[in-house]
């Protein structure tokens, strides 16, 4: 019933998110305009577009973090595993446990490396010391950070470099075993080597997680993503396989953007 409207390509069997007719306002300002598309499970979806196009707002809507801003109003629906995330059936806390998020600037807590990683599991009720240690090791290993920090687990997270802090934040998200990882320009504050490490990490974990990444860098989008969505002024202009978008975009505006004519 719901999926009968014409959806932007591509459509798949395993969509984890189904966005339909999503509008979002900040006060009177329409920041997202009638978005309708699906996000596939176990794929990397990149969202590109010039500053202010709504890509950050969109990704923050997927785990309802956008509601931390004042005066936000939404219309339409986003189905996550076929449940409307704005409905009563799914609590925002549950949603955010299953949908992790990594932010633009690394934001570890002013605690030890270990305490950062087990922060989520602890609050969700795991108290067993060995179990927590196990979670920390697995999460840090998955975030390609274990070898670098295993001898300083109880040192302050702020002693790590920027790139390490960002991988720590990824480990912190992985510790609650999410299905989806949202990444809001995760490398914009990092140097090229740290950026490379994060991209490599994304490549390693994408078989187990659905990843939605907002990026300013078109090279990054083309390197790491399976699908790419191009946003412009709150609208979804084009959404397709990444090779297609970067080789032969269907829309003139997409082509103008990726060839650097504006943005």
């Amino acid at each position: 019933m719901l999926n009968q409207e014409k959806r932007k390509q591509p459509q798949g069997e395993n969509s984890i998110y189904k966005v339909s007719h999503l509008n979002l306002w900040y006060g009177d300002f329409l920041a997202l305009n009638d978005l309708t598309f699906d996000i596939q499970e176990k794929e990397v979806t990149a969202i590109i577009g010039p500053s202010g196009c709504g890509k950050s707002t969109f990704i923050k809507t997927l785990n309802r973090m956008v509601e931390l801003n004042t005066n936000v109003r939404t219309e339409g629906e986003i189905l996550y595993h076929d449940e409307n995330i704005f409905g009563d059936a799914i609590k925002v806390e549950t949603l955010r446990t299953q949908v992790g998020m990594v932010f633009q600037k690394p934001n570890p807590f002013p605690k030890s490396v270990f305490e950062n990683v087990v922060y989520g599991p602890r609050i969700h009720g795991i108290n067993d010391k060995n179990k927590l240690m196990e979670i920390a090791e697995i999460s840090l290993t998955n975030a390609a950070l274990w070898d670098e920090v295993k001898d300083r687990l109880h040192k302050n997270a702020y002693d790590l470099s920027g790139g390490q802090q960002q991988r720590l934040c990824i480990a912190r998200s992985l510790a609650t075993e999410p299905d989806v990882l949202l990444m809001d320009e995760p490398t914009s504050a990092l140097d090229p080597i740290a950026t490379y490490k994060i991209e490599e990490l994304i490549d390693q974990i994408k078989k187990d997680y659905t990843i939605v990444i907002v990026t300013h860098s078109m090279q990054q989008a083309s390197r790491i993503s399976d699908k790419t969505a191009f946003f412009l002024m709150g609208e979804l202009i084009e959404y397709d396989k990444t090779e297609k978008i970067f080789s032969s975009p269907a829309d003139q505006r997409t082509e103008d953007y990726i060839t650097g004519r504006f943005g």
């Binding site: 973090m65 549950t94 955010r96 998020m101 932010f103 934001n107 002013p110 605690k111 609050i123 912190r172």
Partner: protein, 283 residues
């Protein structure tokens, strides 16, 4: 012209020096007569014609007990109000709640004194029949109410200075606002929050009119909050507004008490500044 400005600026230094000199000079006249050991005794009878005694312990306990009652009221209410204003309240709610807090902070202490004596004490008498008309409980509670806005606004400032990205990091892991507040915001703001408590104690110790009016001037050492107790500030007021003539030991004793009071509050204020500066978190 700059010379005039320098002189003006130095007046504030002169004020501090004036306070210290005044207190030290006249207190030393007191200590020249009264041995230091005596002030730690429990016997306070400054107006006795023969052999007046100056044990300040009743004043110290009176001050401490009323201040502690005030803290028991002000800390939980002030801190939870700060949590609400900083972490839960919408911008709209904040817009009318904060001015009310400010209004409460602007009420003169004499008005609180009247309120304690003519409203809170009779109210408490219904609950505790043995309550004395002058007692430590009622002014303690009212002092606590007076201090709520101070604890609340300073703690709120401390919590609001915790970067927003910290909260986002926690909330994005599926924690509730309460958990984010308890495990991220408060630990990060703890130095500012503790500093606000210390400043509040200092304020309670130095508060005068509420205790003068509602706690009376009993100089007996007691821990019974239903009884009258005299605080250090109330002692100073009692002595200056009346009976002890200038030049007597009794007159100089109020400078000794003043010096103690000054040192207590100064130490607290410096300690609060030290904590706020030393343990400021880096993000």
């Amino acid at each position: 012209m700059p010379l005039f400005f320098i002189v003006a600026a130095l007046i504030s230094i002169l004020t501090t020096l004036g306070i210290v000199t005044t207190l030290v000079v006249d207190a030393s006249k007191f200590f020249a007569v009264v041995p230091l050991g005596e002030i730690f005794s429990t016997n306070l009878a400054p107006l006795r014609a023969e052999n007046p005694t100056f044990g300040f312990l009743p004043l110290l306990t009176g001050t401490l007990i009323t201040s502690m009652i005030a803290m028991v009221v002000a800390v939980p209410i002030g801190l939870t109000a700060a949590i609400y204003l900083s972490e839960y309240a919408s911008a709209k709610k904040k817009k009318w709640l904060k001015p009310i807090m400010e209004l409460l902070a602007g009420v003169p202490t004499i008005v609180y004194g009247f309120f304690a004596y003519s409203f809170v004490t009779p109210l408490l008498m219904n609950l505790i029949p043995s309550l004395n008309a002058k007692n430590a409980l009622s002014p303690g509670i009212v002092m606590g109410i007076m201090i709520i806005p101070m604890v609340s606004s300073l703690s709120e400032d401390a919590m609001e200075s915790v970067p927003h990205v910290m909260r986002e990091g926690s909330l994005a892991l599926g924690t509730t606002r309460l958990e984010t507040t308890l495990f991220v915001v408060i630990p990060s703001a703890i130095s500012g929050i503790v500093a606000s408590f210390i400043l509040a104690i200092s304020r309670a110790i130095g508060e005068t009119m509420i205790v003068v009016i509602a706690s009376g001037s009993s100089k007996n050492l007691t821990f019974d909050v239903t009884q009258s107790m005299q605080t250090m500030t109330a002692y100073i007021v009692e002595f200056t507004s009346g009976d002890a003539g200038s030049g007597t030991v009794g007159y100089y004793s109020l400078y000794a008490v003043g010096l103690l009071l000054f040192l207590f509050t100064l130490a607290m204020n410096l300690f609060a500044q030290y904590i706020a500066r030393k343990y400021r978190e880096e993000y």
